[in-house]
Amino acid sequence: MSKHGITRRHVLRNGAGVLAATAVGAPMVHAQGTGGSLRCGFWDHWVPVGNNAIRELCAEWGQKNRVNVQVDFITSVGNQNLLTIAAQAQSRSGHDILAFPTWEPASKADLLEPVDDVMGRLIQKYGPVNAAAEYLGKIRGKWVAVPAVSGTQFKPACVRFDLLQQHAGIDIRAMWPASDTRGPGADSWNWDTFLTAAEKCHAAGHPFGLPMGSFTDAVDWVGACFASFGASVMDARGNVTVRGNAKLRQAVEYVVRLSRFLPDDVWAWDDASNNRALISGRSALIFNPPSAWAVAKRDNPQVAEKCWTVPPPSGPEGRFTPYLPYFWGIWSFSRAKPAAKALLEFLSERTSAEKQTTTSNGYDIPPFTSMSDFAVWANEGPPTGTIYNYPIKPHHNATASIAFAPAPAEFAVQAYQQGLNTKTIARIAQAGETVDQALGWLERELTNIRRGG
């Protein structure tokens, strides 16, 4: 017994009481003080300041809602983001919200929390999203991810207007001015005109820089071209539609003809090669988001001043602009689903979307067709208005396109990643196969993919 009347037993008993009271009261205090925490893994933007908008928006929302939002930026260099997604899907742990590249929502649909409620409210507020975003994000009738603003891109034509005027006699700026009107000759901006221009520019030593390898830039523009001819290789039910497909044959023959007027080395080009071709002044036209122009502005301003972005040419079945979206998804094993949904809704609102697009100098594309009028696209330059026609505007009469749609996403992604459309062209133009042989190969490959489920 202590002479002060405090025994070891008293201390232990009282200490245990304090600890128990703290433990019981902690959740209550926690719930009253904050809304918990949310771990987000967003795509690490190409544009150096591109991450700032997301960081600021998350901080703003977190402060308002008393949620501790932790933001990680995961690079797509070396497919780090795909590896992260695969690892988290396998371990069923990780972030609450994750940025998913184009095909991943379909691939991980079973592990993603449906976001029909969020998309329902957003669509009610801002109108429909474009068809390609719906095809990729709405799986078996359910929205499994929210089409993201950050990282989403179109790949229209970035044209050297001086070279096209000089060698092909086309005034592309008059055709597609920086306003919501079609200029003279816009109706004749089709693949036939494009082929003639490609031939003339090739003869003049400034060939169009269209990649033909298996990287996304190549697969995307060939996919959009095929779509404008109405050429699909697999229908929405997964049936291979190669045999006896006249539209496919027409599209293939067209691209083979066009490939003769491209640089000899396009079969080995990656996603940076076409950018370099434009920036160096060698090429008169590429299909790309404004990143190529932005780098030219920094590295070769004389070239950047003569660039003008216009919609791709139209074909017999319409005009299709290559589209490569990101999505924001919530893992089904997340413990903060309501908060995650609220944050995604906030990030998709018009003011948030405009902030992201403006911060990325116009690179990021919102999924809602009603959001194609942000000021940044009209103001960027030089020349001012050069990326006015980067997003799809109503007067373009264009549709967002993803290669291999409308095939079921689980088959389309395999065909896309293996670049089956560009390889079909390469087998004819480079390896000397006949169209029938190449289409036979394509049919066998697609059948094999389909059988694999």
Partner: protein
């Protein structure tokens, strides 16, 4: 040691508390102690080798969604795929050609170095090891700049000599050659250093005896050097063959498998199918396809090594 295999510890348990119980006797057995001492190694092998390998095999037998066991279906689909047989051919062509070239160049370099006096050998050894020391992803990027389809510095040098441009990465045979060149450039120093070590361990008396018998330099190489180096050559070739078959970074950086999938090797194709296309089971099947062949190869090479060791004893 006692008859039951336990360690005899003088005056231990008996002296203190009488006869040791069976648990104490079990704990004192040499076999038990040996097992306990190997537990960390076993844990590493089971955790980092056996489990991933078995999990890989299990993955390759699931359907695309990984919800159903489909047996060998993924392997059957691969066998029916024309693209996969291209990958198979390219992987074998790449691995065998690259390993042979690395072995020959490494052997030649080792001989050259061996004949340089020791005090001047060090700087040559250091310089020749540089390609092997640089991280392959980095050095391959350097090579990619040299092979760049549009701005190849090698082509620029060739143009000075009025030699026409070479489509290094655009034509499949040139692309295959380029990939092999880079692999040989990176890997030959490893062979060189292994062979140099083996050369230094050959007793000088054997050469002296051969010289007395009037052996030519070819005969010295054929009947003295090569037999003495046989084990090192076998193990180095086997090791390199396995590593080269599993090579990924060179193909990924230089060609990404193109043109027309004709430069894909198992690892790059497995990544494309498994991770990029979201079909992890089929990707696992691709990467495991060569496992039985390499296992058989390793068995025969290692058996040869053991036999030669026995003969020398």
């Amino acid at each position: 040691m006692a008859a039951d295999g336990s360690l005899a510890v003088a005056g231990s348990a008996e002296a203190v508390g009488g006869r040791p119980n069976s648990l104490q006797r079990f704990a004192r057995r040499r076999s038990t102690i040996a097992f306990v001492m190997t537990v960390p190694l076993l844990a590493v092998i089971i955790g980092l080798v056996a489990y991933p390998a078995l999990f890989g095999i299990y993955l390759s037998m699931l359907n695309r969604r990984m919800t159903e066991f489909v047996g060998t279906f993924n392997y059957e689909l691969l066998i029916e795929s024309e693209t996969f047989w291209n990958v198979f051919f390219q992987s074998c062509f790449f691995a065998i050609t690259a390993v042979l070239l690395k072995a020959l160049i490494g052997f030649w370099l080792a001989h050259m170095l061996h004949h340089i006096p020791n005090n001047r050998q060090r700087k040559w050894r250091g310089m020749l090891l540089v390609p092997w020391v640089i991280p392959p992803a980095l050095s391959t990027l350097g090579w990619w700049w040299m092979f760049d389809p549009s701005y190849s510095s090698i082509n620029w040098l060739l143009s000075i000599l009025s030699v026409p441009e070479v489509p290094w990465l655009g034509h499949h045979w040139w692309a295959r050659i380029a990939i092999i060149m880079v692999n040989v450039w990176i890997g030959a120093p490893f062979f060189m250093i292994m062979y140099l070590a083996a050369l230094k361990s050959v007793p000088e008396q054997l050469y002296e005896a051969a010289a007395i018998d009037g052996a030519t330099s070819w005969q010295r190489l054929r009947y003295v050097t090569l037999p003495m180096m046989a084990n090192i050559i076998s193990i180095t070739v086997l090791f390199s063959l396995i590593v080269t078959f599993a090579n990924y970074d060179i193909v990924r950086v230089l060609t990404n498998g193109g043109p027309r999938d004709l430069t894909h090797v198992f690892a790059s194709y497995a990544f494309q199918v498994g991770i990029l296309s979201g079909n992890i089971p089929r990707g696992a099947a691709v990467s495991l396809f060569m496992f039985p062949f390499l296992a058989v190869c390793a068995f025969f090479v290692l058996r040869g090594v053991v036999r030669r060791n026995k003969e020398q004893m």
